[in-house]
């Protein structure tokens, strides 16, 4: 053999072989990388971390002029102070270029998403996790002002990869409601897989909660094969030619709710406390079962203390309040067209308005439409019926915590049969109103959607149509109505359930598109009990 096995050569080669072997064994052990999967996850972790740094620099760069600011994003100064009265919750599905699919909404573009989050961060908003939200809503914990919760539905891949670096850069966190069938039981290209879920939890930035196991898909709900959602509908049993019984229905949805919770808890070792209704439907959209909106939330709450929905607009306040919204948490479905400023406006109007309060009519966004329409020309607020309604109901966002106050409005003109001032507005189905009708004035109490007059009086004159003042005062259980500064009627028998709530307006006329009111000023002042 023509080989040179001199000591020098053997020693050099031996040394190199040993170094490589030692590195081969030790590095995977130390870095806990034992399969190629770990390696690619590790790679993606590095990539996300790098992107995070890039965002941090970008955020600092357009947020400060100092060189130090470029190196590390500092908490921007803001008027943060005190405790939050309410918590808004945002809902997204995915971020990036993903097109809408039949079974999933489209994504908001990365550029928009970045703009939205940067704007919130700059304005001093910050995220809290789901446990904090639960404690807050239960009344067990305070959160700083300008706290919000960021949530994603469906557990799509595009709700993690484009998002996580931004969370990292802004010190934000998020909740992901996953479909366990697609993420844990199976592996799909479109949805996050087990490795990714574990990695997300590892970052400490993500709460993984439930979006059901198999209840995000459609099933036949009658003999014709009409497709309906899993939770709100009774399913058609083709083999037996009938709809399932109430008992079968309960068992089916309960089993699914339990299975997804157990599946996440077993895999991640976490405690799952939140469930997001697929398509935000907790039974209100049932096609074949009218009690679904009672049974679905009740069954859900037997497994999860909190459930999340969307699509409540016009019926309630934007943010969630302690005691009021523990079980059913409302979420703002962020519009893909919103700029950062648009989103910021939504969150800002949801914050509690302080008393005394004087409305500024530069924009009408703060007024939430239950019915009819609202607009402003900068000086007056015009509330009224639309071309298809006989009347209107609007309420002011961020006023739920108001208790004892006097709400005065100067009306420049009004049209239609009746005009009402609303107080103690809890939601679209619970409030009290001073109703001014030609020749009549009465106090209407609306509880769970049914209206009852609790006090009324006949007036000598009919309501003026131009330049008059009306007011409503609520103090404990006493409600009083005023016209041009004079107390007209009063009752001490307001229902106990209406112990707090905000303000609003209402108009009505038998003819479609007629009723309206032009409000020149709104003034609300606290009164001591």
């Amino acid at each position: 053999m023509l080989a040179d096995f001199s000591i020098k050569k053997i020693f050099s080669m031996g040394a190199i072989v040993i170094i490589i072997m030692v590195a081969l064994v030790s590095v995977p052990l130390v870095a806990k990388i034992t399969t190629v999967n770990d390696l690619s996850l590790w790679g993606s972790k590095m990539r996300l971390a790098l992107e995070g740094i890039r965002y941090r620099i970008a955020f600092a760069g357009n947020n400060t002029n100092s060189l130090a600011g470029l190196l590390w994003a500092r908490e921007p100064s803001s008027e943060v102070g005190g405790n939050a009265q309410s918590i808004p919750v945002l809902l997204y599905h995915g971020v990036g270029d993903a097109k809408a699919r039949d079974d999933a909404p489209g994504a908001v573009s990365l550029e928009k998403f970045k703009d939205q989050l940067f704007s919130l961060k700059k304005a001093g908003w910050h995220t809290v996790g789901i446990e904090d939200l639960y404690a807050f809503l239960r009344g067990d914990g305070n959160l700083p002002d300008k706290s919000f919760v960021l949530t994603f539905d469906d557990g799509r891949k595009d709700s993690y990869y484009p998002v996580d670096p931004l969370l990292q850069a802004l010190d934000y966190r998020a909740v992901n409601f996953i479909i366990t069938k697609f993420s844990i039981d199976e592996e799909r290209a479109y949805y996050l897989n087990k490795n990714e879920l574990a990695q997300m939890v590892d970052t400490g930035r993500w709460d993984i909660e439930s979006h059901g196991k198999a209840d995000h898909t459609f099933y036949p709900i009658d003999s014709a094969g009409t497709q309906g959602l899993f939770l709100p509908n009774k399913i058609w049993l083709e083999g037996q030619g009938r709809l399932e019984t109430l008992e079968e229905y309960r068992t089916r949805i309960s089993d699914d709710l339990a299975a997804s919770k157990r599946s996440i808890e077993d895999f991640l070792g976490s405690h799952v406390i939140g469930f997001a209704y697929p398509y935000g439907d907790y039974g209100q959209g049932s096609q074949n079962f009218s009690d679904a909106d009672l049974i679905v939330p009740a069954t859900t709450h037997s497994w999860y203390p909190m459930s999340f929905y969307q699509g409540w607009y016009g019926n309630d306040f934007t943010a969630n309040y302690p005691y009021k919204d523990v079980g059913m948490v409302r979420r703002i479905e962020v519009d893909r067209e919103w700029s950062g400023t648009d989103l910021l406006a939504v969150l800002d109007r949801s914050r509690e308005h302080k008393l005394p309060y004087d409305a500024v009519f530069t924009k009408s966004d703060d007024w939430m439409i239950n019915w009819g329409g609202v607009s402003t020309d900068g000086e007056t607020l015009r509330i009224g019926a639309t071309a298809s309604t006989t009347g209107s109901t609007v309420y002011l966002d961020g006023t739920y915590t108001w208790k004892n106050y006097m709400f005065q409005a100067h009306v420049r003109s009004s049209r239609g049969k009746s005009v009402a001032l609303i107080a103690r507005f809890r939601d679209g189905e619970n409030y009290v109103a001073c109703n001014y009708t030609s020749g009549l004035m009465h106090i209407d109490q609306v509880l769970d959607g049914s209206s009852r007059t609790i006090q009324g009086i006949e007036l000598a004159d009919s309501l003026p149509v131009e330049d008059y003042d009306i007011a409503i005062s609520v103090k404990g259980r006493t409600v009083a109505c005023f016209l041009n500064g004079e107390s007209v009627i009063e009752t001490p028998y307001l229902d106990e359930a209406l112990d707090q709530g905000g303000i609003g307006f209402k108009t009505w006329d038998p003819d479609v598109g007629t009723s309206s009111i032009a409000v020149q000023s709104v003034h609300v002042e606290a009164i001591s009990e």
Binding site: A3, D4, V27, I33, V36
Partner: protein
């Protein structure tokens, strides 16, 4: 600074070996899924690493002035009027006793002035070394030319030099020194590319030649089974050649007479009984194809002779050293599996399963990078990235030549050059 840079090159060289190994370790379980493809990946890694490993232990024999056998240069030529005189003139300048040198040059039916050039250089050198000119009016082929040279040779060692190749002055010494051992039947010199700076193609070939000799031939040389002592510069012991000269001359494969790959074939006869080794100090320079079509034709010719001689060698290689035999049969498997693996990773999987061949391409790139760094570390030329390019080109384009050559084995039209 240069010292640091050189160290850095070798650091990266070993770092890449490490990265490749760690990928293998992490993908180890894939062997459960598909033994063929995972096996390919493991075998090619072991094969390539073992080449570098073995070549490191390649031994050089010191020159001993006591042993100075007589040598005969054999130069078959056809239409080489431009180079032939210079090739032969260099024999008279080599650093070796003149009385131990003779030259036999065969004019194989040239249609230009090759014969005149041969005769005039014979006259020019008449006081220095004896030059015999054999003239054939009709072309008989290179193999006949080489055989004629061997028959007419009177000296112990026959050195074949292509008519377009040049040798260094001391190359003869470094070729013959190995023959002091009776086991040695053939010695391959180290051939570099003469026209390496002509264009990108020749630069790439320069890198490839360098690594093919210093790594792959050196590794084979350890076991004395260099499978091809190339025609451009190799020495043979005449005594051993005579044992099978006629058999070689009349060699047939699949029923047709073999007209190319004469050098590989000759070496194959030698290593059946004796040893063939590589002499890194015996430097020679050859002119390589400078156009793409010439290059592809040459490669196709080589591939065909490679298939033929590899099949022949596979009938006796198992009797050689176990490591040598394992390497040989591994390479046989790899060469034929490569197009299949490539097709599966780069065409089949992406189109059917939409799975991008990241691991495959990464592995391929790292291997090519490894060769490039070796060239950078050893030669220091800046053009080392060309190695990556060339091996890439070789893998992606030329790997298909092998199956092509296989199916067109009997078509000898490529054989003429």
């Amino acid at each position: 600074m240069a010292y640091v840079r050189e160290k850095a090159v070798w650091f990266f060289f070993f770092l890449i070996i490490y990265v490749i190994l760690i990928i293998k370790v992490l993908t180890w379980r894939q062997i459960e899924h598909n033994i063929f493809f995972a096996g390919y990946s493991i075998i090619i890694t072991i094969y390539i690493f073992s080449r570098f490993f073995l070549s490191y232990f390649h031994k050089s024999v010191p020159y001993n002035s006591e042993y100075e056998p007589t040598v005969t240069f054999v130069v078959p030529a056809k239409n080489e009027e431009d180079n032939i005189a210079e090739t032969i003139r260099r024999f008279s300048l080599v650093d070796y006793p003149k009385d131990k040198i003779e030259v036999i040059t065969i004019n194989d039916g040239s249609t230009d002035n090759t014969l005149d050039e041969m005769l005039s250089i014979r006259n020019e050198l008449r006081d220095s070394i004896p030059v015999t000119v054999v003239h054939w009016g009709v072309n008989r082929g290179k193999r006949d030319g080489m055989a004629e040279g061997v028959r007419r040779a009177k000296n112990e060692i026959v050195i074949f030099i292509d008519s377009d190749s040049f040798i260094e002055k001391n190359s003869v010494k470094h070729l013959v020194k190995y023959f002091s051992s009776r086991e040695i039947g053939a010695v391959s010199g180290h051939t570099d590319v003469h026209n390496w700076d002509t264009n990108l193609l020749t630069q790439m070939q320069a890198v490839r030649y360098y690594i093919a000799f210093t790594v792959y031939k050196a590794a084979e040389s350890i076991f004395g089974i260099v499978t091809c002592c190339p025609g451009c510069c190799s020495a043979y012991r005449r005594e051993y050649l005579n044992e099978f000269l006629d058999e070689w001359l009349n060699q047939k494969f699949l029923g047709s007479k073999c007209t190319f790959g004469d050098d590989r074939s000759l070496t194959n006869f030698i290593i059946r009984k004796y040893q063939a080794v590589y002499s890194p100090e015996a430097l020679a320079y050859t002119v390589v194809p400078d156009t793409f079509s010439k290059y592809v034709k040459q490669q196709q010719r080589w591939k065909k002779s490679w298939i033929r001689e590899t099949f022949i060698a596979s009938t006796f290689m198992w009797r050689k050293n176990i490591v040598a035999a394992f390497s040989f049969y591994s390479y046989l498997f790899l060469a034929f599996a490569a197009p299949i693996v490539f097709f599966r990773a780069v065409v089949w999987y992406p189109s059917v399963a939409h799975q991008w061949p990241i691991t495959y391409l990464l592995g391929l790139f790292l291997m090519l990078f490894l060769h490039g760094l070796y060239y950078r570390g050893k030669v220091g030329r800046r053009s080392w990235m060309l190695a990556v390019l060339n091996f890439w080109f070789h893998t992606v384009m030329l790997m298909w030549q092998l199956p092509w050559a296989f199916f067109t084995m009997r078509d000898s039209r490529w054989g003429t050059r």
